[in-house]
């Protein structure tokens, strides 16, 4: 038995320190089988759900596409213009093709982190491999969809993203399910390797169902002068979501930024954090999180900055808005400075919609409902994330679609 499997077996009952402990045996391992096909030939209801998480069937709008339903990879393609610039394939295919990939597998996220990482090793259901070749600047976003079509299914994916030196790309990953799926568990391992002078902007959108559980586990290593920007958006109710991705700024002048917008509805239990570890001279980090809790939602918004080297700087900003008496937001910012030359700061604010803001807008003729809606939308404004304009517009469009229904 391999070392990884052995470690996974030992960790298969190990709960995560955060979030509700799930009985992983309660989920089905019997997926529906899907044959490969072009995305555009998928049923309309799947396409609609995919579009809500930023995955379009229009090939010309994306440099490359990966689409997985349940445990089957149904589509992967690269637009002709980008064929010699990027690689997209299933993780299994990539492991067979590249012997060196084993050096990237479970190297940032530990296989024995908890029962979910262990499950992803022992019951591995594909995922994607994306590689941006050296010095290639990809002008259109790449997209990946991890879709669930079977009720109560457990889907465990392992994704590897390698940005070779000097490369640059935007990647949109949408995780969602069919409208007939109510329960299930998605475990997503994603390991990012941002090599020197490379830049990756990664946007992940989760749209699940009321009784669904999600446990993403991500990590990034950023080398000299590399940039990693991670955006996470979750607007639909679900039973539980827990994640705490970590970015290790390993190289000189490496930069990492996490932007998170969460809208907790229904009985959602959401525990989402971001960690940045500054390990070299000139490293910079920023965590910005916006959490809105409605109905009976419980949201933990965590942030962790570690200054492990002098000449580093990072900031954490967490804001929460509570829309219901029964909802709660716990903002948990942590700063650890291990050297004198690390400048770390944070600001956190949690509260309800300010009455004076509502009245002010009403004095401009907005009704109370319109004023509150405008304030909530403003709270979810993505322009502060410093994204490319096209991506910003696209994320704003997705926020508008989901916020429309949520509000």
């Amino acid at each position: 038995m391999s070392e990884g499997k052995d470690a996974a077996l030992r960790a298969i009952s190990k709960p995560s320190p955060f979030g509700p402990d799930l009985d992983i045996s309660q989920y089905s391992r019997q997926p529906r089988n899907w044959e490969p096909c072009p995305i555009s030939s998928l049923p309309e209801d799947i396409l609609r759900r995919a579009l809500e998480v930023g995955v379009t069937p229009e090939d010309r709008e994306r440099a490359g596409t990966f689409f997985q339903i349940d445990h089957s990879v149904i589509y992967r393609a690269i637009q002709r213009l980008f064929e010699d610039k990027i690689e997209i394939m299933s993780a299994k295919e990539a492991l067979e093709k590249y012997d060196w990939l084993k050096d990237y597998w479970w190297r940032i996220v530990r296989v024995d982190t908890d029962k979910y990482t262990a499950l992803a090793e022992l019951a591995f259901d594909q995922g994607y491999f994306i590689r941006i070749l050296e010095d290639q600047k990809i002008t259109l976003p790449l997209q990946a969809c991890l879709f669930i079509s079977t009720d109560n299914l457990n889907q465990n994916v392992h994704n590897i993203i390698v940005a070779e030196p000097g490369s640059e790309a935007q990647i949109i990953t949408g995780c969602t399910l069919h409208h007939t799926v109510h329960r299930g568990l998605h475990v997503g391992i994603t390991e990012f390797y941002i090599k020197h002078d490379a830049k990756i902007t990664f946007t992940m959108i989760h749209n699940w169902a009321r009784d669904f559980d999600a446990r993403p586990r991500s990590g990034a290593i950023i080398d000299d002068n590399g940039v990693f920007i991670s955006n996470f958006i979750c607007f639909k109710p679900l039973r539980s979501l827990q994640m705490y991705p970590t970015a290790y700024c390993r190289g000189v002048d490496a930069r990492a930024r996490f932007n998170t917008i969460i809208y907790g509805l229904g009985n959602s239990y959401i525990d989402v954090g971001s960690k940045i570890v500054l390990q070299n001279e000139g490293c910079r980090g920023e965590i910005i999180s916006r959490a809105i809790a409605a109905d009976r939602a419980q949201i933990y918004a965590r942030g962790f900055l570690e200054g492990a080297h002098s000449g580093t700087r990072a900031h954490l900003e967490c804001r929460g808005l509570i829309l219901s008496e029964e909802a709660a937001i716990y903002a948990v910012p942590e700063l650890v400075a291990k050297t004198q030359g690390a400048e770390l700061s944070h600001e956190a604010a949690v509260g309800k919609i300010a009455e004076e803001q509502v009245q002010y807008l009403m004095a401009r003729g907005f009704s109370k409902g319109e004023a509150e809606s405008l304030i909530i939308r403003g709270f979810m404004d993505v322009s502060i994330f410093g994204l490319p304009k096209d991506l910003e517009r696209e994320i704003q469009r997705m926020i508008d679609i989901t916020a429309e229904r949520a509000l």
Partner: protein
């Protein structure tokens, strides 16, 4: 017979159980510009909040009529839609809500917005900023005036449009406000009366401890206040009270 556009009858208002306005009576006719003077804490801004119907300002007696209709029980947005526009003194900052999105709601006419921007001498990039967030004193006044003019209301209220504004911006704002007042009715609150250099007001009132104690010609009253301070109003009040008792 002329009807007042705004009529306040025996209005008394409480905030958190504390009386802040007492038996206020005020009539503003079409085309009239009224000025409200008063020391800090006298209730000037509270009167505006009460006219707007902010929930914290509880009317304990009296009523407010606008265009002949009793608006005392109406929510703020309905009062505003009837034609009341207010430029606030200290408006709240709202993250993520762009000034432009509020302005475009007030008027969908982009040409009008651009024209207003030119008038208040401010660049269009200002519209992309979060409303009142990090605005300087002058920018707040300009933003408020922009919004009120975009609203195109029949009755305008300006709460201290001249406080915290430098000379240059005061001239710009004064000119724009004066132009906006032509043919309109208005109530202007001012602490030092500087704005009166630019606008022609018809009548002024002095508010002390939540009551209107004096009404008269704006420049005459302002002159007395600048010379003797509000002590003059207290003295005047005593004299008038004595006269009444006699």
């Amino acid at each position: 017979m002329r009807e007042p556009i705004l009529e306040i009858q025996d209005l008394s208002v409480e905030v958190s159980g504390r009386r802040i306005l007492n038996d206020i009576n005020l009539k503003v006719y079409e085309g009239e510009v009224h000025v409200l003077f008063g020391p800090n804490g006298s209730g000037k801004s509270s009167l505006i909040m009460a006219i707007l119907g902010f929930p914290a300002y509880k009317v304990v007696s009296g009523k407010i009529l606008f265009k002949g209709k009793d608006i005392t029980g109406l929510p703020t947005d309905e009062r505003v839609k009837m034609g009341i526009g207010v430029a606030f003194q200290n408006p709240p900052a709202i993250r993520g809500v762009k000034l432009g999105s509020v302005l475009r709601r007030l008027t969908p006419n982009e040409e009008k917005i651009n024209d207003l921007l030119r008038k208040v001498k401010i660049s269009s990039s200002f519209l992309e900023r979060d409303i009142n967030l990090g605005f300087s004193g002058g920018e707040i006044k300009k933003s408020e005036v922009l919004q009120v003019l975009a609203q195109n209301s029949d009755f305008l209220i300006f709460d201290e449009p001249d406080s915290g504004v430098d000379v240059e911006n005061l001239r710009v704002l004064g000119t724009v406000i004066n132009e906006a007042l032509q043919g309109r009715s208005a109530l202007i609150i001012t602490h030092l009366g500087v704005i009166l250099q630019y606008i022609n007001a018809n009548i002024a009132h002095v508010l002390m401890d939540g009551s209107i104690v004096c009404s008269g010609h704006p420049t005459k009253i302002l002159g007395q206040i600048l010379n003797e301070g509000y002590a003059w109003c207290e003295k005047c009040l005593k004299v008038r009270t004595l006269r009444c008792e006699l």
